[in-house]
């Protein structure tokens, strides 16, 4: 998972997640408000450059991560560029071009806002932020367990695939299907065993029914939030100025 690796390697990793989230949310709201292509382009530039230059996210990972959503964008826009005319003949049409242009730029700006956040903030820090924002406890517990077990299960999955490959389990299409099915079935059964083991381990540490963790302290949080808010205001000003 490229995002995960980039986030832990980021030089903004230990910046208060609240500040980074504030900046990203301001970027998203500004992108929603902005109307003209020029304003959206300015927002895209600001959001991307912040991630690439200020937070020093490697350009290569940035592009690799942005490619799948860009594929979706391309496909959807091409779909909108094709349609019937009044006579029911299908061909390329520019009727929706303004909508397409606006939607594409808005999507890019918001994608840049999202990437700026997730490429500098490891998911556990975001979960801690969600905890502070009073997300329902049950959802948080599911997220915490999901995050940790994700890596445990993926490692188990990869090791099993390797073991199956060693016994020629992926020689051809048919065998690949059979092997994947067997493995997924065995792992599905493991879900219960692993859950039971975690329950026992939690009970051993006086589990009281909810997963409680100590919040991290960010000594610089206040200063960082102010900076983020100011930068956010710049983006909002661009967007609001554009509407007026």
């Amino acid at each position: 998972m490229l995002i995960e690796t980039a986030a832990y390697a980021s030089r903004w990793r230990d910046v208060a997640p609240s500040a980074k989230a504030l900046f990203a949310v301001a970027g998203i709201v500004a992108s929603w408000l902005a109307q003209s292509p020029a304003a959206l382009a300015a927002l895209i530039a600001m959001l991307m450059l912040t991630a690439l230059l200020a937070a020093r996210v490697p350009l290569r990972s940035y592009i690799a991560i942005a490619l799948p959503p860009l594929g979706f964008l391309l496909l959807s826009c091409l779909t909108m560029l094709f349609g019937p005319d009044e006579n029911g003949h299908w061909h390329w049409t520019t009727a929706m071009l303004p909508t397409i242009q606006h939607t594409a730029l808005r999507s890019l700006a918001m994608l840049a806002a999202l990437l700026g956040l997730v490429l500098t903030t490891p998911l556990p820090h975001l979960l801690a932020l969600l905890r502070r924002l009073r997300t329902p406890e049950l959802l948080l517990d599911l997220m915490v367990l999901c995050y940790r077990m994700l890596f445990v299960l993926r490692q188990a999955w990869d090791e099993s695939i390797t073991a199956q490959t060693a016994r020629l389990g992926y020689r051809n299409w048919r065998q690949a299907w059979r092997s994947t099915g067997l493995l997924a079935g065995q792992m599905a059964v493991q879900v219960w065993q692993r859950a039971a083991a975690l329950q026992t381990a939690a009970d051993a540490r006086v589990y009281q029914g909810t997963l409680r963790f100590l919040p991290a302290i960010y000594p610089q949080a206040q200063r960082q939030q102010v900076i983020a808010a100011l930068a956010g205001c710049v983006m909002l000003a661009i967007a609001v100025g554009d509407r007026l």
Binding site: M1, I3, I28, I65, P68, P69, F72, L73, L75, S76, T79, M80, F82, G83, P84, T93, A95, M96, T99, T103, R106, S107, A109, M110, L111, L114, L115, V118, L123, L138, L139, D141, L142, L145, C146, Y147, M149, L150, V152, L153, R154, W157, Y170, A176, W177, T180, G181, L182, A184, G185, Q186, M187, A188, V189, V191, W192, R194, A195, Q199, A202
Partner: protein, 207 residues
Amino acid sequence: MHIMEGFLPPVHAVGWAAASLPFLAWGLRSIGRDLRAHPERRMLLGVAAAFAFLLSALKLPSVTGSCSHPTGVGLGAALFGPAAMVPVGFVVLLFQALLMAHGGLTTLGANVFSMAIVGPFVSYGVLRAAAGLGLSRSVSVFLAASLGDLATYVTTSVQLALAFPAAVGGFSVSFAKFAGIFALTQVPIAISEGLLTVLVVNAMVRF
């Protein structure tokens, strides 16, 4: 197929979020009640969510180049009931947005509606109907998983068509276009999903 970050206009994004919220609240309440009787279910759903995420990030043989697909949601609906799958699906979709940039935060509501609400409910309904008709286990599991998957993608096409009606022909033409384009990837995925779920369920009942 997840709708990417920022693709939906604000009204639609907020609208779909508002539509999903009651289901999420209902799902949480339903799990909460269940947890009072079976506290160990909390861990179970957490691990199940991780497993669903893992399967959704999986590249299946024969469907190269496809990105994420809702594998496991149909299976989960059969095992835990559709209500529990709303919060689990929510977590999986949030993680896909945050860890893989598949989908997004502003489109989370719309994606939750198609993938964590419509998908599981259709799967569950098909499973019940198939049981009523007395179909074999493999057939009913295949139908449940693949129809749940198809329903998800039809819902996504509806969401896109509502947001971007065609200049000529409006919603119905736009729906036809989106559904047609995405069918190229989604129909093979739905079939794979059905096949894999059958293999998984057959392997599970033997353990």
